[in-house]
Amino acid sequence: MKGTVKILVAGVGGQGVVFFTDLLVEAAMHADIPVGSSEIYGLAQRGGSVTAGITFGEHTHGFLEKAGVDILVGLEPLEAQRCAAYLHRGSTAIIDNNRIYPYAVNAGMEAYPDVEKFIEFLKENIRKVVYIADDLGSLEPAVRNLFVLGKLSEEETFPIPDQYLVKAIENIVKPGSVQASLQAYKAGRRNNELMYPVKKGW
């Protein structure tokens, strides 16, 4: 609330939710912004749902609550939708259409949700929606999250300035992948035509 910004990162085990969180925390440290995070990843490597909370500001420790998240970062649309109730009217949702089908969908027992409907609803009801509908063609899957980070960095309610994010990438990412990561991050910042409108027929 006053003076705090809360971010929820949702994804699938193996997608790098924890790494994404670590990056944000590292960047906040460089920017001298009080930061806390809280993660649940017991079975993360086995492809289950993973969420993490990152909070900026005093008197908050990474804990989230329903209708209490300012920015939802969905690295996978179904997992983003699973966290829908955490959004409030003033929230921003950044959702990457990087679909990973859970077993029940693959087995034909359940349907993958209608993401378009969800995005349309969000557009009507929250402050802002950034939907990354493209398959990001040439971008390596490993650095796809950095592209999402680029999008996040351009969000006006996001408190960490660009240079600290760059510094965090340089510090945390494995030395061999820094260049590719920075490139993806910058592509995310530049590449605005992917934001609106939502592409039909994806």
């Binding site: 609330m1 699938v12 085990g13 670590d22 925390v25 590292e26 906040a28 440290m29 009080p34 930061v35 806390g36 995070s37 809280s38 993660e39 649940i40 990843y41 017991g42 079975l43 490597q45 086995r46 492809g47 289950g48 749902s49 005093e58 008197h59 908050t60 420790h61 990474g62 804990f63 989230l64 609550e65 329903k66 209708a67 209490g68 179904l78 997992e79 939708q81 699973r82 829908a84 109730a85 959004l87 409030h88 009217r89 003033g90 089908y101 859970p102 077993y103 029940a104 693959n106 087995a107 034909g108 027992m109 359940e110 349907a111 993958y112 949700p113 609803f121 009801n125 929250i126 510090n171």
Partner: protein, 1127 residues
Amino acid sequence: MKNKVVEILTSYSTPRQVSAIGNEAIARGALEAGVSGVFSYPGTPSTEISEVFNMVCNFQSNFENEDDYPQLIKNRVYFEYSINEKVALEKAIAYSIGNKSAMCVMKNVGMNVASDALMSVTYQTIVAPLVIVVCDDPGCHSSSNEQDSRYWGNMASAPVFNPATPGDAYRMTKEAFRLSEALRLPVLVRTTTRVSHSRGMVAYNEIRPAIRQPFFERMPEHINIPARTAAAHKKLLEKLGSDTVTPFFAEFNRTYFPGNKEYGIISSGVATSYLLEVVHRNELSEKVEILDLGLIYPSPENDILSFLNKGFKKILVLEELNPIIENATRKIAQVHRVETEILGKNFGGIGSTGEFSLEIIDTVIGAFFGQKTVKYKEVEGLESFSQNLPPRPPALCSGCPHRASYYALKLLIPRENGEVILCGDIGCSGLGALPPLKMIDTINHMGMSISMAQGLAEAMKEKGGKVIAMLGDGTFFHSGVASLLNAVYTKSNLLVIIFDNRTIGMTGHQDHPGATHLDKYNQIEILPLLKGMGIKNAEAIMPFDMKDTYHKIEKALATEGVSVLVSKAPCVFLPEYKEFARQDAKITVDHSRCNTCQNHLDHEIYCSRRGSSQSNLSRAIAKIKADKPVDARDLACPANICNHGFFHSILEKDYKTALDMVRDKMLFARACGDICHRPCELFSGHSPESIVPVKQLKKYVSGIEANFRDFTNAKERIRHSAPKGKSVAVVGAGPAGLSAAYDLVREGYQVEVFEKEAAAGGLIKYVIPDFRMDKTGFDFEVGQLEELGVVFHFKKALGKGIRLEQLRKDFDSVILSLGMGKVKPLPAVADNLPANRWSDGLAFLKKYNNKSLPIAGGSRILVIGGGNSAMDAARAAKHHHASNEVFVSCIESLETMPAFEEEVKHARDEGIVIMPSSYAHQCLENGSVTVVLHGYISRSLLKTLEVDYIVVAIDQVGETGDYAEVGAENLSEKGRIIADEHNGLSNLSNVFVAGDICAGNHMSLIGAIASGKRAAVGVRQQLEGYNFPYEGLNALLGLNGKRKEQHASLPFNANGSLTEFLSKFNLFQSCEKCNHCIDNLGCPAMIKADGKIVIDQAKCTKCGLCIDVCPNDAISWAENGKMESVF
């Protein structure tokens, strides 16, 4: 990684602000306190603490770092992942007794394993400080219970710290070493998932390692004997009540917002963090004073009492899980007669289960203060989007060897009857309980699987059935091994499968006695250990060798006593896996074989195969078990029966479905079982050993009388067909016409059949001798047509009561299945012999069947002709009287006779003399009949034969009246009606032809049936715009073209086990309703898109399991080559 180690090992003379998760903070606290030995067992949420020390240990033992970081390796920390928590704590205690400070780390349930050591050491003594870190898991994010481990402090009389934040965790761990040293007691630091996995700011300070020399001092306390215990207990409690603890209470039990407040809240652990956030954002600090308890055992009675005496209006106690502090507070209030209202569990929705959250604390604070709390504006209708979404449970990784073992088990163990009980265990192997594997019936705690299995085996003894214990290698070493010893010693009857992937997978690949990926320890092989235990039936399996795994498990299941299989292949995360799997190759899916039906197009909506996974399993089992793979398309039936579905229904002992699959395509299941010449077998090109005996199976399933009498499904099909409002006349009620009628009536056509005889059945009914087939069964099958709604008109033939022209007007379509009921006369016989000395074959057989043959016993009979009718006639002559002598003369050689080899063989076996390559040159009647036979090729005298009777069974032709109606211009030279080979359409626009009279048709029952079906498809194409060709067409046309291989299938003994006989065959074919891999394997790299399987190459780990799994043989390596094991 290195940066992190350097950071955590560096001593900071000025505090350094670091962001750390609770677990890292604990590790740093211990390092600053000078810990010199860490003993642990991995387990979420505690693992990261141990991982720090594992990294530290590796860093310090890497000699390269000696020069670069001399300061950081100076104070070496010993670290080990012990075999289990009990050993870890015991060794930590001993380490302390050797005068080295120690820490022991575990998760909540690990404390239960270690508790034996804890419960008595407090009565005795430690020497150097010993801190035990135990991480609870409220909400059970990754644990088998949400026990409150704070109780252990009370139970064992050991102090307990309960941090609220990573910062607390750091400070408390550090100070716990000091308190432990002061009291000479182990001290517990108890965290929860939310603290361990939260990241916050922590100030790292100086590392001041205590300089301790290794030293063992003999002390009476080191010997625990009952005589000393009572006194020791008293002394222990005195220690806890001593002033030594007081400064620690002062340091870790803090008050927030002190002052003259209305409300008081006592809270502990992560509850304090939630509480402070809610208090701050609601600006309640003016109203409330908070007592945060960090050192919760010994019970901070003085702190609580002075808080109770502050004159609050009411007091709220907030703690996750059990009301430990609340009960202590209520006790103190009662003893000291404090009247203030105390609220705790059951107030404002807080309970003793699950994890607290901001929402819960927000609600309870609202209730406690009686005011609305500040909140963001919710979005109405948003919550519904997050409901009823597909779940995403964790799953075994792509390439996980556990999946291979579970899959083999799945094929072997029918889950419906529950006769085999599957006891699973903790760890990755426990994921086998989830869909689609679902191969676990019980999971309890670490290592219980083997005890559970032996206990159940004992309990189930009278009932029988096998019990299987399944556990990972880590779990086996942790505690399963002791249980296995018990099983051996008590002569239990169970199968143990150890999933040996050489690591502890679930928590992130830590060491254990079987781990190979680090060379710092001795590696213990499980198999020799088992042999050493005296287990004779112990074998290793390589789970990706599916056939071998299957057979070994099958064998072990049949073995009495203790048998153990070590399923050994590396975890996909281990470097060994890369060598193990075929990294160079790619797996591809042939979509033409994946979920594609080869057999459905003529009746596309009807497939008798059930959609159950059971039928998928029988196909998959056949793939693994059988040694003769036969593509069902090789066994193509002209009537387009799905031999593959038929076969697999029989494998499942579902004989009714098998029969219905035949009847889905044709009426004459039993007749075909009797007399079909089985082109599907003969023309397959397979050797006798690999021919699936389709005809014998057909006879078997149609021989089950109750099923045979049940035509419900055929009738059901009519109910589901839309009436077409079209009528079809079928002329000729032989098998061809009746087959067309059967297909059309089930598709909703009105069908009327015209027949010249007084009953339906044609040549089959009148001519085939009754010793070859069950005539009653045939009549029953034919009789069903009337039940299905076909209208019959008997004693009508073209030109006799009906006219083709009229039929073409009265009906939308006409099918002519007139048959060829006349035998061509042979002048040498007809011109020279009186009528009582000879007969044509068809008339002869008719008379045989109605028992009016005018031949006395002991007669000599010559049959002229080399076809099947000749063989029938010859055999009928023999069957008529066993004393008859029967000869057959034909112009063909034995090899080229048109009769089926089997028929010839039957005839010869019955004593009939066959004279091939001969013809009757002359016949004379002189009391008897003298026949002069000439060689067909030599054209010279072969033999003169004296006989009593001659049967002429040569070429058959149609009735003259029929030909007249059809018109000569529509006939071929051989007296057949010209028709399109694709649909049986004649030159007349709405007239179709089927059966023997149809040009190019083959004279056989199945050929007649198939051409009837073809004509039905033709009618449908014409009348309802049906788009598909007749799918049995290739097989039908092949009847004439292909050379007969004449391989007989091996006979099976119907009294023996049919399933066992068939288990050597895998009759496979791609099936549209397959879905086997998705239903039973669930590899995360397999995606089903647009009905076909796609391999997600990014996720595929190239294990190749799916190749062995696919019953359709649709999956393969893109390149040739074989996977080899590195073991």
